[in-house]
Symmetry: C2
Subunit: 243 residues, 2 copies
């Protein structure tokens, strides 16, 4: 929970008084032409009003009217391995951070090492993705924007994650298996083809295409920057308009 | 992220001006004895300063100085089934909510139904508790206080949860198996004794007592209210002191 210190209220009182007293003195001088009177009224005002301003600030600190929360949302990137989810999600995350928004970043590559016992069978993957979805929803519920990127190949767990969230924005990284395989510089597809990996989406496991994703990125046709623009524009229209 | 609306700044300008202009007019009247002059200066001030105040508020809205965050923490209740975790955690949670703090409440009974495939073997329980610990830590990292209550019988997963959090407060609900069994009005111990439940802590599974819990509640010796006092006092000393 955020609160304002008494020091902040004090500083605001001083900064306000500087402006306000000059204004008063000028007004009094214009009306009376008496410089001494203008200065006397100004000086007295400094003491009388500085205290009053501080008190006024502390009262308003207890009033929540007009303090608004930007609605949080879950931005969920899904797509084949090596479809560019992480790079794009990182880019969008950075843009949101630059706007001083409260954002959490979750990526399969960061979460999985914490739970090394998690396997890659469809059952295990669905469990893992559902847990990640629950985590996203809890963060969102508490006002945190979440940028999540998981292969999340199975519709079942994506639908589950969507159901838990309030504002779920699914970003489908659309690409072909061939294009992803070519893009893959970590050799995962090769290992899957050689039988070193099992249940690899696009090779020996399905990737369920999203049915109605909020955003579809044509990975092989746009740059990361252009795709980030497309996503941030969507977010601006739907969530980030404040005033 | 929280922000202040222009309407809030406007209202503050009006409420401030009401107090301030009266002060100015009184000062001018005392010094000049001229009622008309006092009113004229006051009126002119209303227009000149209302706008200035609004502008001043909008500037300060961009300044983060003196806006402080209360440190978040994870308050983790552990203890045998029917040791009274839920009732006490609910009570402490309510007290924190009453203080207008940002708090999330997690209880085994609420989280498990979301993941019905989660079993009760030590392996499954450790996995479940570790995931819950990860969720707590992510919330805490984002400024949310977490009140969590899980039987969490195994030291391994509790130590894991502690390791992920920044401020981990372990509350050990200390009671005997016999006392818990007598307290159990949902018949869980009976089912465990009859072999309907397996891996039941205190019956056919161990409950690893916490080694150095931050707080120990002697469940059979104190009331829920007294125990809540004990916990809230600890939290006040360690986290909730602001100024």
């Amino acid at each position: 929970m955020q609160y304002e210190t008494k020091k902040r209220s004090m500083l605001k009182a001083i900064s306000w008084r500087t402006w306000a007293t000059i204004t008063t003195a000028v007004i009094v001088f214009i009306f009376t032409g008496e410089f001494a009177l203008a200065v006397t009224v100004g000086l007295l005002e400094v003491f009388a009003k500085m205290g009053l301003y501080f008190f006024h600030e502390r009262c308003w600190h207890r009033i929540s009217y007009g303090k608004k929360q930007i609605p949080a949302f879950v931005l969920w990137f899904t797509g084949l391995p090596a479809s560019g989810k992480k790079a794009l999600a990182d880019c969008v995350y950075q843009r949101l951070v630059d706007e001083k928004l409260k954002v959490e970043r979750l990526d399969g590559l960061d979460v999985r090492p914490l739970f090394p016992e998690t396997g890659f069978s469809p059952t295990e993957v669905n469990r893992h993705v559902k847990r990640a979805g629950h985590l996203c929803a809890m963060l969102e519920k508490n006002g945190v924007i979440v940028v999540a990127s998981f292969v999340s190949p199975y519709r079942e767990s994506r639908v589950f994650a969507r159901g838990l969230a309030t504002n779920f924005v699914e970003v489908y990284m659309k690409s072909t298996v061939a294009a992803c395989e070519q893009r893959d510089d970590r050799g995962h597809y090769l290992k899957a083809r050689n039988g070193e990996y099992q249940h690899f989406p696009g090779v020996d496991a399905v990737y369920d295409e999203p049915v109605n994703p909020e955003i579809t990125i044509e990975v092989d046709a746009v740059s990361v920057e252009a795709a980030a623009d497309q996503i941030v524009n969507y977010l601006r229209t739907h969530f980030l308009h404040n005033g």
